[in-house]
Symmetry: C2
Subunit: 345 residues, 2 copies
Amino acid sequence: MSRPLLRSLLGMVASGLTLAAPALAAAAGWLALPEQAPAPADNPVTEAKVRLGKALYFDPRLSSTGTVSCNSCHNVMAGGEDGRPTSVGVGGQIGGRNAPTVWNAAFHPVQFWDGRAASLEEQALGPVTNPIEMGLPSLDVLVERLKALGYEPMFREAFGGDSPVTADNFAKAVASFERTLVTPGSPFDRWVMGERGAMTEQQVRGYERFRALGCAGCHTGPLFGARPEAPFQKFPVFADSPYVERYGLAKDTGRHEVTKRPEDRHLFRVPTLRNVAVTAPYFHNGAVATLDEAVRVMASTQLGRTLSERDVADIVAFLQALTGPFPSIEAPRLPVPVGRSVAFD
Amino acid sequence: MSRPLLRSLLGMVASGLTLAAPALAAAAGWLALPEQAPAPADNPVTEAKVRLGKALYFDPRLSSTGTVSCNSCHNVMAGGEDGRPTSVGVGGQIGGRNAPTVWNAAFHPVQFWDGRAASLEEQALGPVTNPIEMGLPSLDVLVERLKALGYEPMFREAFGGDSPVTADNFAKAVASFERTLVTPGSPFDRWVMGERGAMTEQQVRGYERFRALGCAGCHTGPLFGARPEAPFQKFPVFADSPYVERYGLAKDTGRHEVTKRPEDRHLFRVPTLRNVAVTAPYFHNGAVATLDEAVRVMASTQLGRTLSERDVADIVAFLQALTGPFPSIEAPRLPVPVGRSVAFD
């Protein structure tokens, strides 16, 4: 048995999963991120949808002021977020939670920190009409704006039909573009597929500590994130950790704010660790500025442990092996109405 | 003599220029936009500078809040501006003048509506420390921020030396990228180079009216903009035009606000008409929403004339022949500090 295969199997065990014997041979790379993100049956990815979705994703004119696009807070030129603790929407308003990276979001079983959207399609419409994000008064206004900006031909190309410009199709196109925002081929992926030198010795050691400590119990699968059958975990588990007060980690009750059920207090969708090294600051409130401190916080609040500084450094090194590579993206040409402007707030 | 050559010569005459006989043969396309923008001797365009400059241009983390980049107000995915009357800077603050298009800005003899920067290099530093634009407290903070974000290797590659991260080099890199933002090959360019069908009959008629009315007296040369030896013109000339009050065109005294000299009251750098059809709304205050109204305003305030609606439509059609084509731009990968965040306001 090759060492990567052994490592993969160890990883599976650490993740609490088992595989039947016939699946073993195919299992060597099961922790490598797939090249393709899954798409729902009613929204297969097509070139025309991706082209449209990319334009929509980058278009700030779809906000009330004409200044905030999807990419403003989920910047694909960087780590897929904005580097701020929490994001800035229209009129300089500041949001309540850290922008999750859009990279590999297509693999999440649910969307948002509180999992309130079941799909990328459902997620895509949220910020557009959120008054402190993109701030449009309604999805009807979105549709009017899309028509005024000249998007109709691109919608027709992507969806056909007589009235292709709809909020649903907007969501489908944005989701289709987001399904292209995946980063297979990281050092970890290459290593787990058998390329021995792809991770440093320290990174391998960090991966072993990551599994042995139990981190992989929540950060599961190729995404090192939420598992579909149980996407939420409590955070913080150890509420008496000194980090909880220091970083204000228990102020936000997470999923409970959506469901109002007592059992959902402080449940959050497990974030992916893919590209975590380039998405500081950390946690739902973005209160922790560095990855090493984030690792200390997690050990303390989730495992009730204080790690050695060597363990912290090794795990941070491993987490850096989950970065990129990022696909090149040609900046879209946005449609522009000829000889007339659109009214913004 | 070919008709396009004849047209070009007519254009020159309308622009008040004459050429000696030996230059005539080479003159057919002199009104076509050059493929290359000029660069100063101390800042030749190089690939490394353009690559760096593009990243800087798109990087919102160079603003106090991490939310406003050059591209926020001068969006190269669209008409090179933001489609707003005036732009939004950090904290939702609203500026005083319409963002000029960055497309072909490299051909302007001076920069800004009031011409207060003599070069792209000088212009590039203005918005960074303008408190209502990108809002950094000083250029020293810019340099610290650039280092914190991990830009040093890109600066070294572009400029060499031991301490390449300087505000001057920032400006040189951004200017180098902007020199690539040129749009030769528009329908007008192709027509003036002899491609008879490149403009419609209406566009040719509009061009003839444009010259006959005297528009080309100020909107000169391939840029249809300011001439180097006299970049400023008074606006409005006819202060009693009803449009002046309707659109508040005389509130801003333009270059006078920089020099405080009485003779500079209401002088503005002549804007380019390249891509004017995709840069609504119009004028220094962005008060006019449509191109046809902008043409009426110009005829009234600058020429003291009321145009027929046919003339307006023909001139608008001609102006549309000055649009694009826009070069494709690969979105830059921005450097991201590994495992740590930068502090934003």
